[in-house]
Symmetry: C2
Subunit: 334 residues, 2 copies
């Protein structure tokens, strides 16, 4: 049997059994944005880790060291944000090919430290080693939260309103420049490129949602809106309907997609690496949540759909017609 | 400037500044076997991480998947042991080349889970991704301890007795078989090979030392006795004298070294990957510590030397003559 046959998520299901020997303090094991374990009576630690491998997650020539360092921490902070926790400490393992220059490595750490400083996060440890061919960066981040304010994936409820905290699809457009070895040629394209290289983790937004008391579930968009929302739906045993017109895409993305004949909605649904949060909230409190969000951040909390009892994944057009959404997110082994 | 010029430890010194933005709960940052941060009033979390890269840390053909999985967790548990903490949760990031068979991956996780079960440790999360050429495994492990019972590197005191909790040098002999592409040909050589592939983390020993109240500092032997003891000495601002005759080497290692014309003491000093603990303890309480250790484990706590005020690293032969010990441990960038 081959990895390709079972896929990334099949593989995760395969390794999950018999992994918890001591469940006493375990609040969340494999299967969420981060694991959660209790320490003492009220406190819990949230821990996430992401492995970035050269030529799989990044191409050295296409990104500055600063961007790479920044992003390798940002993707982890985004997972902590999706749990509604406060990030605290980062641990950086790095595998370095011999010919790597110190100046490039300095830039990686400068990017990481700039972002860490912004969110009052410490780089507290790690591991430093060599690598034969590819540069390897694994970052683990811990966060803290009160036990009762955590946001999980598997707790969406029928009738919930689906929200997202930012624009979707820009990151995929930014990735296009890398894959085509092209340079962004104006300020609009540069913004798309930055959305890919320097994503802002939605930490304040995650804490706001966690403290609202009306958000039932949350995830960050790493694989793509459709895939990530399917994680919420599958684990919560529900379905969803998205409103096509409500999916927030930037004018820059619309322009870019029009110019190249691409579908902006496809970019938003299947792009991935947006690192905004998608959450589901009590429908009765949804309007208040939107208003409070706007008051707090002076930005829109986008209302994009509804959680349904029926386990279907649907897209509704402006004219009311419904169509199935197929999973199109990233699978490392597909 | 090149990495080779500053070495692994020079690189670590280079990245350390400006890494702590929020020192409030930080008890130990970069520079020990593990980082430590406080949660609540009395509790603290200990966290360590180790990155293993194919062709740098292991050769796939020379080790079973089971051994690789076991060892990748064991080296982290050993770091937790060196802090005197109880290991709790492991987080496994794995980067998998396309052609890797599921059966081999199953074996990796079987080895990891067998060891985890033995120490009541959970595998609570991680990351699963692809890799172009090399198999990559990063394991992070958390442990818990009471704040006051932790063991650090930088707290050895003049006059302390130096102990180690197990035999030294076997692992390097075991590695020889891999480097020479030879099979161990008898039960003695097999034991040396196993010392390299399936090292037992000294968790119970670490807890015993932490709870004794008389141990001042501790480290685990990953780079080699001389290098690791130099970490203790440098950070504690002291020196040491080792007694050559007291360095514990196994009959199997003596036999192996005699047969091949190697020096067993060299293997013990500079070999590394033994994953036993080296600690320094109050000289007045040293005999009681030895006796209690023997009563508890029915094994010897080996008394191998003394911490000195003078910052020299010395070896004393049976006839009283002293010679300098040169650092010979592993440096990834040397």
């Amino acid at each position: 049997m081959n990895l390709k046959d079972i896929g990334e998520f099949g593989f995760i299901k395969r390794i999950t059994p018999d992994s918890v020997n001591n469940p006493v303090n375990v609040m969340r094991a494999i299967g969420d944005d981060a694991a959660v374990f209790a320490i003492g009576k009220n406190e819990c630690v949230v821990l996430t880790t992401d492995l970035l491998v050269e030529r799989v997650h990044f191409i050295k020539e296409a990104m500055t060291g600063y961007q790479l360092g920044y992003k390798s921490l940002a993707v982890n902070l985004s997972d902590i944000a999706a749990m509604g926790a406060v990030p605290q400490h980062a641990f950086v393992s790095i595998g370095i090919p011999k010919e790597t220059s110190i100046e490039y490595l300095d830039e990686i750490y400068r990017g990481m430290k700039d972002l860490a400083k912004q969110y009052n996060v410490n780089i507290l440890g790690g591991d430093t080693t060599s690598s034969i061919v590819d540069l390897i960066i694994n970052v683990a981040v811990t966060g803290v939260a009160k036990k009762k304010s955590l946001l999980y994936r598997n707790t969406a409820k029928e009738g919930d309103v689906i929200f997202c905290t930012g624009l979707l699809g820009d990151s995929k457009a930014g990735l296009d420049f890398i894959l085509k070895s092209e340079q962004p040629k104006n300020v609009h394209e540069k913004r798309l490129f930055e959305a890919h290289c320097l994503p802002r983790p939605h930490i304040e937004e995650g804490l706001f949602l966690a403290n609202s008391g009306v958000v039932h579930s949350c995830i960050d968009i790493s694989d793509g809106l459709s895939s990530d929302l399917m994680h919420i739906a599958e684990e919560s045993n529900v379905g969803f309907i998205l409103q096509e017109d409500a999916i927030p895409v930037s004018p820059d993305l619309l322009h870019y997609c029009k110019e190249h004949g691409y579908s902006a909605i496809e970019y938003a649904l299947a792009g991935g690496e947006d690192y905004v949060l998608v959450c589901t909230a009590d429908a009765k409190k949804a309007t208040k949540l939107e208003n409070d969000f706007y008051k707090t951040f002076k930005r829109t909390l986008y209302r994009i759909g509804t959680i349904t009892k029926e386990k279907k994944y649907l897209m509704q057009k402006n004219d009311g017609t419904l169509s199935d959404i197929k999973p199109k997110g990233w699978d490392h082994f597909a």
